[in-house]
């Protein structure tokens, strides 16, 4: 095996370098004095100041955080229920349908999800008068729908590997199903619930395409504002925004990974 290992080392190292070069360049040029994002002209933090004084970006960031918080929380509940149904109930009507519908959003192109939900909302408004117009509510419904799929996948894999005898013992001792869930299942799957919620939160915060379809006037999310700015060219305040997001996520993931290290055999 020694002979081929130099190839393996070089190829895999290049792969990791490739993953990080764009991110590192984003961060470096966010501290650039010049407006040109590609020529170094000295250290400066002025783009961060400009970012925080831009009312459009700050407003959109606030809208996006609100949407992400609500969608992730709804997706957590719905996704966990779906995972429980698929992992704990042996047979029920609609099981194949549920399992197909819960895995399809993971790969379905965003343009299809966005277009189809928008057309549904328009049709519903015509027939029932709800939702009146489009905005925060419609984005939250759309994000909840695709995020619950991610929650379900994460929670389901935890439920499958969990030792079922714990739940059986609680049942045998006379606990009702809701108590078994709250006192036995919930503590065991809570790391999966935390990562499912965090994953949903970041996915919602990141979505451009679906939000563009189902959004309405006055509800521009952060990715929508970034996209319209970036289309006109590179701007250093977007680099500053990217740096803040990347550093926050890196710290969050590091904390989560050190706290939620899955116990072996559990």
């Amino acid at each position: 095996m020694k002979r081929q290992s130099w190839f393996l080392t070089i190829a895999s190292t290049l792969g990791f370098v490739f993953l990080y070069v764009p991110i590192v360049s984003l961060i470096i040029f966010s501290f650039n004095k010049s407006k040109l994002v590609t020529v170094w002209a000295g250290f400066s933090t002025k783009w961060y100041g400009k970012l925080f004084s831009d009312p459009q970006i700050m407003g959109a960031a606030w809208i996006s955080l609100k949407i992400a918080f609500i969608s992730a929380s709804l997706a957590l509940v719905l996704g966990t229920l779906a995972a429980l149904s698929l992992a704990r109930f042996r047979r029920f009507r609609g099981k194949t349908l549920l399992s197909a519908m819960i895995s399809a959003p993971l790969v379905m192109p965003d343009v299809i999800i966005g277009l189809s939900l928008l057309l549904l909302f328009v049709a519903m408004e015509n027939v029932f008068g709800w939702p009146a117009g489009r905005g925060l509510t419609t984005i939250i419904i759309a994000h909840t729908t695709f995020c619950m799929a991610y929650v379900a996948v994460v929670v389901q894999s935890r439920l499958i590997t969990m030792d079922a005898s714990l739940e059986e013992a609680a049942c045998d001792l006379g606990a009702r199903p809701v108590r078994v869930f709250l006192d036995v299942t919930l503590p065991v799957i809570s790391p999966a619930l935390v990562s499912g919620w965090l994953l949903s939160f970041t996915l919602s915060l990141d979505d451009l395409v679906i939000a563009s379809f189902v959004s309405g006037p006055g509800a521009s999310t952060l990715p929508m504002v970034i996209f319209s700015k970036v289309r006109l060219g590179v701007s250093p305040d977007i680099n500053a925004l990217a740096t803040i997001i990347i550093v926050t996520v890196a710290i969050g993931v590091a904390i989560a990974a050190s706290r939620l290290k899955p116990r072996k055999g559990g």
Binding site: R3, A11, V107, P109, I141, T202, I226, A242, I246
Partner: protein, 311 residues
């Protein structure tokens, strides 16, 4: 603990109202997905058969009542005929399939050594390397695509570097080309391939590999005869996780590609947002959906195969 108490009280209340716990656990997510995932596709299918009109909403109704109370259902196949007639749509579909296919192959070639290296690493190094693969996945997709604009621009970082090293005297045009689109796709979808490959490679029994080399097989032979065939489920799952979303990709061709980069996601977007032709956009979406049925079934089979193998 008050949250727990409240949940127990809620459960009791629902039970008193005659709901069965099981039917709520199943019913709530099932009906949510039927309403917001399944029915929307039926609406798209319906509108793809209607006619574009200048109104709100901008499409005609399929059902008309004639004067004597007879219901007429009018299906317009013209949107689909239009997709076939205008070469733009056919070539956009073909070009998306081509880009998705070749970028999946490139992602596989880049990801395989990485996944293999992670799977063979010591436990401590393995967790760090896995974290390094997952971390970019958690940061904004849009901003990671944006990062390439600064690198690939005519006066960008890569060209500045090449020119200062004397490799070229003129900047190379990389932005707004298919090269930039491929690069962006390979970059953003790399983690989707590395993770499933890693999952199958890490389960590989190292005693089989040792047996093979003890029997005199060279490393290359062992790789092609044993490692590669045994990692097929990971290859299929990873490839589909890349191939399917790339076909409908919009952000990467919109930001890195040029006007001649044809991808169906961009065509659908323009049809909807620029031309405001909802029926044609719906017809494009329906054709795209039909194209995706086979890859999605392949993915489901690969996933059930690997979950059965692990349990």
């Amino acid at each position: 603990m008050s949250m727990r108490a409240n949940l127990l009280r809620l459960a009791g209340l629902l039970k008193a109202l005659g709901f069965r716990g099981r039917s709520i656990v199943i019913g709530v997510p099932l009906w949510w997905l039927v309403l917001f995932f399944l029915i929307p596709f039926l609406v798209v299918a319906k509108i793809s058969f209607s006619e574009a009109i200048i109104a709100r909403p901008p499409y005609s109704s399929l059902i008309e009542w004639s004067g004597d109370g007879v219901m007429l259902i009018k299906l317009e196949f013209s949107n689909y005929a239009y997709l076939l007639e205008d070469s733009l749509y056919v070539s956009a579909f073909l070009s998306s399939l081509k880009i998705a296919f070749f970028s999946t192959v490139i992602v596989l070639l880049v990801a395989y050594p990485m996944a293999y290296r992670i799977a063979r690493a010591s436990e401590g190094a393995r967790n760090i390397l896995l974290m390094l693969v997952i971390l970019p996945f958690w940061t904004s997709f849009l901003l990671r695509v944006y990062a390439w604009i600064g690198l690939l621009k005519t006066k960008g970082i890569v060209n500045n570097l090449l020119m200062s090293l004397g490799i070229t005297s003129e900047p190379i045009v990389m932005m707004q080309t298919n090269f930039a689109v491929y690069l962006g796709i390979v970059y953003t979808y790399l983690p989707f391939m590395v993770l499933p490959l890693f999952t199958t490679l890490v389960k590989l029994d190292s005693s089989i590999l040792e047996a093979s080399s003890d029997l005199g097989a060279r490393p290359m032979t062992t790789f092609f005869k044993i490692t590669l065939p045994l990692s097929v489920p990971g290859i299929v799952a990873g490839s589909m996780l890349v191939f399917i979303p790339v076909i409908g990709e919009f952000v990467i061709p919109a930001l890195l590609g040029g006007p001649d980069t044809l991808m169906i996601g961009k065509v659908l977007w323009n049809e909807f947002f620029s031309n405001r032709d909802w029926p044609v956009a719906s017809a494009v979406a329906m054709v795209l959906l039909v194209l995706l049925v086979i890859p999605i079934m392949l993915l489901r089979n690969a996933q059930t195969a690997s979950s059965e193998a692990s349990s």
